[in-house]
C-alpha cells in the first residue's frame, strides 16, 4: 500500500462563488484503480487539475510519494513526468496537426534526443493500438481516434500516474471496451490509473476504490459499499448502478466480491435456470 499521489486538505476557491473543493483528502495507491464520481459541477475536473499540477489549490497540498508538490518551475517539471492528465475533450490537448508529431510533442520538450523520442512515440502508439494512424492528419480522425491520440500524448511522457477525465464520455460501447483494454495494457506496464466518470456502471465494474465528491470533499471506499449507499448517492445527486438496484429489488445483500456482470448478479441471486417457471 504505497501512497503514490495524494491530496491533503485541498481547497479551491473561485472568488464570488461557492468553494469547489473544501478541504478534500484523497490518496492514490500504486496499482489500485480509483474512480472519481460526482454530479456535474461537483469538482471532479478541478480535483484532477490540482492533482496534475495544472491548478494550484488555494490551500492544502498535493503530495507525491509523500513529498508536497512545489509549484515552481523545477517542481512542476518533475511532477509532469510523474503525473499526466488526459482531458475529456481531446481537442483541448492535441496541438500538432499530424498524429506522430503530436505524440512527440511532450518527449521533444523533455529534451530527449531524436532516437529516444521516436522510441517513446512508437511505444505510446503501440500501447494505444493506433500505430497505423501515426502519419494521419488529426482533423481527419474520428472523435474516438482523437481521444486515443490525446492519451498517447500523455503516455509518451512515461508517467507513473495517469488521470483520465471522463474517458468514456462520447465513446460507443465498443470504444469503451477498447479503452478499458488499453488501460489494462498500461497497468501491466506499471502505470497507476485513476479516472472520473458519470457512468456508475463503469465505476462498479472497473474500480478497486471509488471517491464520491459531495460538498467539496471526497467520501472514499469500496465500490460495493458506497455505490449501494442511497443516502450518500442522493447527496451526490447520483444513482446506484443497476447491479446494486437489482440485488436490492430482490432483497438480496451485496456479496463480496461484488457481482460485476450479469452472470455474477444472477449467481448472487441464487437462481438456477430450473428455478424459473
Amino acid at each position: 500500500m504505497r501512497a503514490l499521489l495524494a491530496a491533503a486538505g485541498v481547497v479551491v476557491d473561485h472568488p464570488g462563488s461557492p468553494r469547489v473543493l473544501d478541504g478534500l483528502d484523497l490518496t492514490l495507491i500504486a496499482g489500485r484503480r480509483l474512480a472519481l464520481l460526482g454530479a456535474n459541477g461537483a469538482g471532479k475536473s478541478t480535483l484532477l487539475r490540482c492533482l496534475s499540477g495544472a491548478l494550484r489549490p488555494s490551500s492544502g497540498a498535493v503530495l507525491v510519494d509523500g513529498e508536497p508538490l512545489r509549484h515552481d518551475r523545477r517542481g512542476l517539471a518533475r511532477h509532469r513526468q510523474t503525473v499526466q492528465l488526459v482531458l475529456q475533450d481531446p481537442d483541448d490537448q492535441i496541438v500538432a496537426s499530424e498524429v506522430r508529431h503530436d505524440v512527440a510533442y511532450g518527449p521533444t520538450n523533455l529534451g530527449l534526443d531524436a532516437a529516444e523520442v521516436a522510441t517513446r512515440v512508437d511505444h505510446a502508439l503501440d500501447a494505444l493500438g493506433i500505430a497505423d494512424l501515426a502519419r494521419r492528419p488529426v482533423h481527419h480522425l474520428s472523435f474516438g481516434q482523437r481521444k486515443r491520440v490525446a492519451l498517447a500524448g500523455a503516455v509518451a511522457m512515461a508517467p507513473r500516474v495517469l488521470l483520465l477525465d471522463e474517458p468514456t464520455a462520447g465513446l460507443d460501447p465498443a470504444g469503451t471496451v477498447a479503452l478499458l483494454e488499453t488501460i489494462e495494457v498500461l497497468e501491466a506496464r506499471g502505470v497507476t490509473v485513476a479516472l472520473s466518470t458519470h457512468d456508475l456502471d463503469l465505476a462498479w465494474r472497473w474500480a478497486d476504490e471509488v471517491a464520491v465528491l459531495v460538498g467539496g470533499r471526497a467520501v472514499v471506499g469500496d465500490p460495493g459499499v458506497l455505490l449501494a449507499d442511497d443516502d450518500l448517492l442522493r447527496q451526490a445527486a447520483l444513482a446506484s448502478p443497476w447491479q446494486a438496484r437489482v440485488l436490492r429489488a430482490a432483497g438480496a445483500a451485496i456479496p463480496t466480491p461484488r457481482p460485476r456482470d450479469a452472470e455474477d448478479v444472477v449467481a448472487a441471486l441464487g437462481i438456477r435456470e430450473s428455478a424459473i417457471g
Binding site: A96, S97, E98, P137, H139
Partner: protein, 205 residues
C-alpha cells in the same frame, strides 16, 4: 501598444479618428460585399475577430524575461488582407477598450491607425514584395515589419501630441522610438518567429 483613453489631446484624438474613418469604411464596404454574396461569412468574420481578441491575450515569452502580447496584425493581413483587418481590427479594439480597459474610445481612431491600418498594410506590403523569397522568410519579415510599423505609428502619434519642449517633434519622436525599440525590436523578432511557426502549422491543417 494601445494608447490609453484620454491620453491624446482632444484635437489629436479627433484628427486620428477622422483619419481612420476612410480605412474602416473601406473595410466595411469590402465586408458588406462579401457577406451579401456569402451570408455565412458573417460567422467566419466573427470567428476571426474573436480569434484576434483571444490572440492578443496570449502572453509571449520575451527574450528579456518580461512578457508581452503579440499584435497579430501581420498574420491577419496575410490571411485576410488589410481592408478586412481595418474593419475587424476596429471591432476588436472596441472590445479591448470596453472589456479589458485597454485603449479607449477617444483614442480608438489613433489605435485603429496604428494597429488596424499601418501594421497590416506594412506587413502585407512586405509579404507581397517578398513573394519570390522563401515563404518562411517572407512571413517572418512581414510579421516583424507589421509589428514594428505598429510601434513606429504609435511613436509618431505620441511625438506629435507631445513634442519635446526643446527639440520639438523630431527629438520627441526619437525619444519615443528609442524607448519602444528597447522592448519592441526583440519582441518583433519573437513575434516574427512565432508567426512563421503559426503559418506553418496552419498550412499543415
Amino acid at each position: 501598444m494601445h494608447i490609453a483613453e484620454g491620453f491624446l489631446p482632444p484635437l489629436h484624438a479627433a484628427a486620428w479618428t477622422a483619419a481612420a474613418v476612410p480605412f474602416v469604411a473601406h473595410g466595411v464596404r469590402e465586408i458588406k460585399r462579401t457577406t451579401a454574396t456569402h451570408p455565412e461569412s458573417k460567422l467566419l468574420l466573427g470567428a476571426v475577430g474573436a480569434y484576434s481578441f483571444v490572440l492578443s491575450a496570449i502572453k509571449l515569452p520575451s527574450v528579456t524575461g518580461s512578457s508581452s502580447h503579440p499584435t497579430g496584425t501581420g498574420e491577419g493581413a496575410i490571411l485576410f488582407r488589410p481592408p478586412v483587418m481595418a474593419a475587424l481590427g476596429s471591432v476588436v479594439l472596441l472590445f479591448q477598450a470596453l472589456l479589458l480597459a485597454h485603449g479607449g474610445l477617444t483614442t480608438l481612431g489613433a489605435n485603429i491607425m496604428s494597429m488596424a491600418v499601418a501594421g497590416p498594410w506594412a506587413g502585407y506590403g512586405v509579404y507581397r514584395l517578398l513573394r519570390f523569397a522563401p515563404w518562411s522568410v517572407a512571413i517572418f519579415c512581414a510579421v516583424a515589419v507589421a509589428d514594428l510599423a505598429t510601434y513606429v505609428m504609435t511613436s509618431t502619434q505620441l511625438a506629435l501630441a507631445f513634442p519635446d519642449p526643446q527639440g520639438g517633434f523630431l527629438a520627441s519622436w526619437e525619444r519615443f522610438l528609442g524607448l519602444f525599440a528597447l522592448t519592441q525590436i526583440p519582441l518583433a523578432i519573437v513575434e516574427g518567429l512565432v508567426g512563421v511557426l503559426l503559418m506553418n502549422a496552419l498550412r499543415s491543417w
